[in-house]
Symmetry: C2
Subunit: 368 residues, 2 copies
């Protein structure tokens, strides 16, 4: 099997590492100035649209997938007329615009926070009057890792924040008093075979994921799976997908959907019988999906900006280092660390001992 991956970041890198044992060869397309997947597979630097005329790559590929939401939907639609593309352009289109995403979720009965569509300062004034403070202005498109999001605390913030947001099409979301944030990773194959991983509890700092921990037998597991099943069936989704939820009064409220492998699923490499990356590939190759069972107590810590010394990190029993081959830079995800232990108690001991070694997260200063 040959897989062409649109996007050449760490998600592509980890897909390639999961692909090789399955006998799948990968190539990567990314217009960016660097690609950390290029260590492990041929990287073609070109404008997105140029892919359409690269017959060599298109003929080579058995299936085309994407790891980045910055891939244009129109490109996927055009490619899909003659090639197998998974997940579909529709999935990216729905999740790639916060307004469409909220409509899609609501239509399918998945609860979301109260929100309004914002195209002008007048919209923003009207919406804050309805939703109250605090609330959050978020670009409809291209915001991630805390970028393109602003907290509004009072009427006096509106004009300056609408300016800071470059008056781009946005939504306003009511502030939600959530008790925790969880995500569900699920993989679905054409025809309907679907597997869900254990719900994962996530902690963010300044909009960036700091750590993820899979939860054995969380009481909200069944509800989350029902939501995932409904969303994926509705668009005949093929591949791995993540849904981030707020937990409010012990109920799930969807925050956003990522139509791809997801940072909060990196723990599956060591912690699950089959990783989210292997299951994404199995899904898009139309092979049977693998078991998602939790192997052992596991915790994933993101490495932001820089990474701790290998010698100190690896001295901790059950610590698995994942570096992405990226240069250190404030706010950049340069790797992650997965801890796997024999018991929850042992896991917590590892975590406490590693904590002082980890770089303190810093305010992101780049778009990555």
């Amino acid at each position: 099997m040959n897989v062409l991956i649109l996007g050449g970041g760490q998600l592509a890198r980890m897909l390639i590492l999961a692909a090789a044992p399955l006998g799948i060869r990968c190539q990567v397309v990314d217009p960016a100035a660097e690609s950390c997947a290029a260590d492990l597979a041929p990287w073609h630097r070109m404008a997105w649209d140029e892919v359409l005329v690269r017959r060599d790559l298109l003929d080579w590929a058995d299936v085309i997938t994407y790891e980045s939401e910055s891939v244009p939907c129109a490109l996927l639609t055009a490619l899909a007329t003659q090639h197998k593309v998974a997940p579909s352009a529709e999935a990216l289109q729905l999740s790639g615009d916060r307004w469409h995403e909220k409509q899609w979720l609501s239509r399918l009965g998945v609860p979301v926070a109260p929100h309004r569509c914002i195209d002008s300062l007048a919209d923003l004034q009207a919406a804050t009057a309805e939703l109250g403070f605090p609330c959050f202005l978020k670009w409809r498109q291209q915001g991630y890792d805390g970028k393109g999001q602003w907290r509004l605390n009072a009427h006096s913030d509106l004009a300056s924040i609408w300016q800071a947001a470059q008056q781009r099409p946005s939504i306003l979301e009511a502030g939600i008093a959530f008790t925790r944030e969880v995500s569900l990773i699920a993989s679905r194959r054409a025809g309907g075979e679907l597997v869900c991983y254990p719900l994962t509890e996530n902690r963010h700092q300044q909009g960036i994921l700091i750590h993820s921990r899979p939860l054995a037998d969380d009481p909200l597991q069944a509800a989350a799976e029902a939501h995932a099943r409904r969303l994926m069936q509705a668009v005949d989704y093929v591949g791995t997908l993540a849904i981030e939820f707020f937990v409010v009064d012990e109920q799930l409220m969807a925050n956003e959907v990522a139509p791809r492998v997801h940072n909060s699923g990196h723990w599956t490499i060591e912690g699950a019988e089959t990783s989210q990356f292997a299951n994404h590939l199995r899904a898009i190759c139309d092979w049977p999906l693998g078991s998602t069972r939790l192997l052992a107590p596991t915790l994933m810590l993101n490495l932001i900006g820089q990474w701790p010394s290998e010698a100190l990190t690896l001295a901790e029993r059950g610590a698995h280092l994942h570096l992405y081959g990226k240069a250190p830079r404030p706010g950049r995800k340069v790797g992650h660390l997965t801890l796997r232990a024999r018991s929850e108690g042992e896991l917590m001991s590892h975590w406490l001992r590693l904590q002082p070694l980890l770089p303190r997260s810093e305010q992101p200063s780049s778009s990555e």
Copy 2:
């Protein structure tokens, strides 16, 4: 860290897959016409000795390692004068010649089968008179996977088999009535830190490994570890090493030593906290070694000649496919399959269901 790997077969491929998450970049040198590691790292096809004049590669590498016993010892010795080479030339020299290997093992008190050095038909006649039949003629150098080995059943075999062996320097080994074959994989770091994996029970067919199964708490574990420790300390070994043993009257008798990651340790990718590949890299980079604990009941099956359909294989829960990117060919190791289960009983059920899917092993017809 930059690692130059001498040899570009599946062991290099799996080293590269373990290296990437640790932030280690690899390049590969192999004079062969193809390299299945080339999918994942730059492959330089050149005669072994040419490496000595490739300043670009040598300056790039922080450490040079090897995955193949066909690398000339003289090359390693020459490289080691100016570069870090691990494991050392000495380890390869001792294990790469069956006569030297037997002397080394005996000298360190590791039991071996009765054996004689054979340089002529007269030697062979004298040795069979002493050791009796059946016995085995084995080339001192370059035999592996059943190649370069002949069983002798009677005096009438001697002349024809000496001819078949091309009169090459050999040893004669007494036939051993062993009850089982086991191997120990161990990793050692400069300075002495040493970890051993659980003993692995192996089954061979026509000299090729068919399956390996790690044994929890085998009564011979401590004895095997003591042998490994003695051998590795004696040559200040750095990296991963395998010792194959016969079990005779519930005692270990060493058969051979491989100064590298080993086929009977492939189960460690899914079955151990840290794989033999990761520990080899951690050892040669002088980083702390990882835990070798057995995660779950595990079994590795070699795929010889060809591989079963992905769709059928992956339908089995806990089956992990590892293909090497090699074309199918009779007798060739093209991949392996690791089964991981929640219990020994479940493991056996998986194995029984997969058995009919596996290619029947065939007589090797190639040198691989």
